[in-house]
């Protein structure tokens, strides 16, 4: 590590924000990808990979991703639930690589739920 100046301390803190948002809490949005057997068979892994890729590209530390088991609606997998703090959660269904990327830009970053992919809005929150 090169010699630090005082302003570098803040820069290092910024750089590690993503990891510490996970550990300390305080995130703005949480995406749960349903990864039961049905979800994985229907392609949830690709959805997850695409989502992680988008978050990395956008360099966001305020969005966290978790997995959960079968949501009970196996026919409409892959499913994902997007929860923005203080807003109703939205469940999306029949997802694909492209759809989750669009949802990331429109809903997670833009704040506008993508109604055409949504299964239901206003289901239970998990935070």
């Amino acid at each position: 590590m090169p010699r630090l100046k005082i302003e570098d301390l803040q820069k290092i803190k910024e750089k590690h924000k993503a990891d510490f948002a996970l550990r300390e809490g305080g995130y703005r949005a949480k995406v749960t990808v349903h990864m039961g057997t049905c979800g994985i068979a229907a392609g949830a892994r690709n959805v997850m990979t695409a989502l992680m890729d988008e978050i990395a590209k956008a360099n966001r530390s305020d969005v966290i991703v978790t997995t959960s088991g079968c949501a009970g609606l196996c026919a409409r997998e892959p499913l994902a639930t997007v929860e923005i703090m203080n807003q109703s959660p939205v469940k999306y269904c029949d997802l694909s690589d492209e759809k989750i990327r669009e949802i990331f830009k429109e809903h997670i970053l833009g704040g506008n739920p993508v109604e055409k992919y949504a299964l239901v809005m206003g289901s239970e929150t998990t935070y």
């Binding site: 630090l4 100046k5 005082i6 301390l9 590690h16 550990r23 992680m52 966290i64 978790t66």
Partner: protein, 622 residues
């Protein structure tokens, strides 16, 4: 750019490493790779999490799920269930003793729930071997503030106003110590750290040095600036290899980053820091002895005054602070003295770390606000004595401290209240004892330690502790006589009054407090040759109450000297000539049919049956 969806914080403190962290880490890494999750999930090795009894432990973020007692065999299932399928794995979660429901989240587990983390603010949240992670948690911001925005007087005022007192044992106000040293004019001054943690059962400082070494370094930089020192040493015992390794790594990283050495953060301030290894002599935890040892001489205390603030290391003005004290400094500088005083009492402010150990369910490291009742620490955080046994005493302050009985458990933990009991807060070792403990034996144990560790300089300490020990040995072996207790007390007070340093001034405390609170046990040892806890072998006879014995054979199977005979489902009998009084039958019996009688008891044991258990005996005598 790498981005992870989960961080697995795996404890790599000494306790968990001993329980198998390294193998668990390898298994976890391999399994995560196998499942193709290695780009999504990051494993971080942290310092001591504190819950050593349940190690190896793992905290999963952002879910905040806490797993305990990990084994290599369970890893594949854990990874598949939680990290692949997103179903937290109940089998490895914490369950309260005697309850079956799992508590998934760390913040809900009683052991963690009552704690307030200031010293241990980074415990389990950072990798102690990466300076970036410390900086990411506001690390070195306080040093930057102290070096650029504060004068020496400003720093000393904040620390004084905070009420912070030395956490090594004596509880001397830290700000005052810095003030004395800053006012002395000298070309060279030294800023020193005492990491020579020596109390049996205490491991607070080791944990801080292992889990958050930079917090100690930052505290030292601020202290050095306050008193005007440019050289510092951390004195650590060589028995703490992991702490030494992580401290050295931290010093190297900080030096490379320009946070130690010349012209720190381009502010023009210089501070060089080195580690000095102690050889583990207990007396070297005393400040003047530590300084002699640092000079390369034999570690022996010298009279004060002159105090180290005037003439310390190499006769230069020096400040010596304990590890835990130094780890408190940075947050005080950043948040102010009022913030620090918001916890604790008027004279004992802030938080204190305790090492909770002994006959208690939740062994581990706990940080609590000062002033909370002892009972909260022992029952709510510690979960009470193991196996539902009865609480007898808690030993505070190690060999310098004393034993506090059940009747005083509601006193608040402050420097003043604990001293009033005859014990001391000390460095924070808290050893819990249940009714299986002999208090005379406990006093003897600590005297063995201090008699051995006395440096020999002062006669009262060198000879006095040996005489105390010999008398206690006599009492536990059946040679106690009338008047022994008075002699012990008298001699104890003399040793305290005439010794030079803290070792001798406190060594009699375990004897004095046990006599004060457990006088009946001494009397029973001396007069009746009866160790009612069944610990002193010369003062015990084990006897089976035939009316209560179910003939289950548990005692017979466990007896190492084949001294128990009896047929199945019929009352058993102990052959006294063969009995070695190892207690194994007493521990094995589920029906409480084994009674502890006085030594060489002759006559009809059933006469004593009603008074043979500890609690019943007290009733009988009163």
């Amino acid at each position: 750019m790498e981005k992870f969806r989960a961080n697995l914080m795996l404890c790599a403190g000494t306790g968990c490493v001993a329980s198998g962290t390294t193998k668990v880490r390898d298994a976890l890494r391999d399994e995560i790779q196998k499942r193709g999750l290695d780009e999504e999930i990051k494993i971080v090795l942290t310092g001591c999490n504190g819950y050593c009894a349940e190690g190896p432990v793992l905290s999963v973020y952002p879910d905040e799920i806490f797993y305990q007692k990990l084994t290599v065999e369970e890893i594949p299932k854990l990874v598949e269930e939680h990290f692949l399928k997103g179903r937290p794995y109940e089998k490895l979660m914490f369950k309260e003793p005697e309850k079956k429901t799992a508590i998934p989240m760390m913040k809900d587990i009683p052991f963690f729930k009552h704690q307030v983390l200031r010293v241990l603010r980074n415990k389990g949240l950072i990798d102690p071997e990466k300076i970036e992670e410390y900086i990411a948690r506001d690390g070195y911001q306080a040093a930057a503030k102290a070096l650029t925005q504060m004068t020496q007087e400003d720093i000393i005022k904040v620390i004084k106003d905070s009420g912070l007192r030395g956490r090594g044992g004596a509880g001397f106000p830290t700000g005052l110590k810095w003030d004395f040293a800053s006012k002395v004019k000298s070309d060279i001054k030294y800023m020193l750290c005492n990491g020579d943690e020596g109390d049996p059962g205490a491991f607070m400082d080791r944990s801080v040095m292992e889990a958050d070494p930079h917090s100690v370094i930052e505290g030292m930089i601020i202290g050095a600036r306050a008193i005007g020192a440019h050289h510092g040493y951390i004195y650590v015992r060589a028995e703490y290899p992991l702490a030494v390794k992580r401290l050295q790594l931290a010093i190297d990283q900080a030096t490379e980053a320009g946070l130690l050495g010349n012209n720190i953060l381009d502010t023009g301030f210089d501070f060089k820091l080195e580690i000095y290894l102690g050889a583990g002599a207990f007396v070297c935890g005393e400040e003047t002895a530590l300084m002699r040892s640092l000079e390369g001489k034999r570690g022996m205390p010298r009279p004060r005054p002159p105090f180290p603030a005037h003439k310390g290391l190499w006769d230069k003005p020096s400040v010596l602070n304990n590890v835990e004290t130094l780890a408190q400094i940075a947050p005080i500088i950043l948040n102010g003295s009022d913030w620090y005083r918001s916890l604790g009492t008027e004279k004992s402010t802030g938080t204190k770390v305790f090492a909770l150990t002994g006959a208690i369910n939740n062994v581990g490291l706990v940080e609590v606000p000062m002033g909370i009742p002892l009972r909260t620490i022992i029952y709510d955080i510690g979960g009470g004595p193991k196996k539902g046994r009865k609480f007898k005493a808690v030993q505070l302050g190690g060999p310098s401290g004393g034993c506090i009985p059940e009747s005083l458990l509601d006193i608040p933990v402050t420097y003043e209240d604990i001293v009033a009991t005859g014990a001391i807060v000390g460095s924070g070792g808290m050893v819990v004892m249940d009714d299986n403990t002999c208090m005379v034996g406990t006093a003897k144990f600590f005297l063995e330690f201090t008699a051995d560790e006395s440096c020999g300089k002062c006669t009262p300490c060198r000879v006095g502790t040996k005489i105390l020990l010999d008398m206690l040995t006599d009492i536990t072996e059946g040679r106690g006589k009338e008047g022994d207790m008075e002699t012990l007390e008298d001699l104890g007070r003399d040793i305290i009054a005439t010794s030079l340093c803290g070792l001798g001034q406190t060594a009699p405390n375990p004897v004095l407090t046990t006599i004060k609170y457990f006088r009946d046990e001494y009397e029973s040892h001396i007069k009746h040759k009866w160790c009612k806890a069944g610990v002193c072998r010369s003062l015990t006879t084990f006897w089976i109450d035939e009316k209560m014995c179910k003939g289950c054979g548990a005692c017979l199977r466990g007896c190492p000297s084949k001294a128990i005979m009896g047929e199945k489902k019929k009352p058993h009998k102990i052959i006294q000539e063969l009995c070695v009084r190892c207690r194994s039958c007493y521990e094995a019996c589920k029906f409480k049919s084994i009674k502890i009688l006085p030594a060489n008891f002759e006559g009809d044991p059933s006469e004593l049956v009603g008074v043979t258990t500890e609690t019943e005996t007290k009733k009988g005598e009163s």
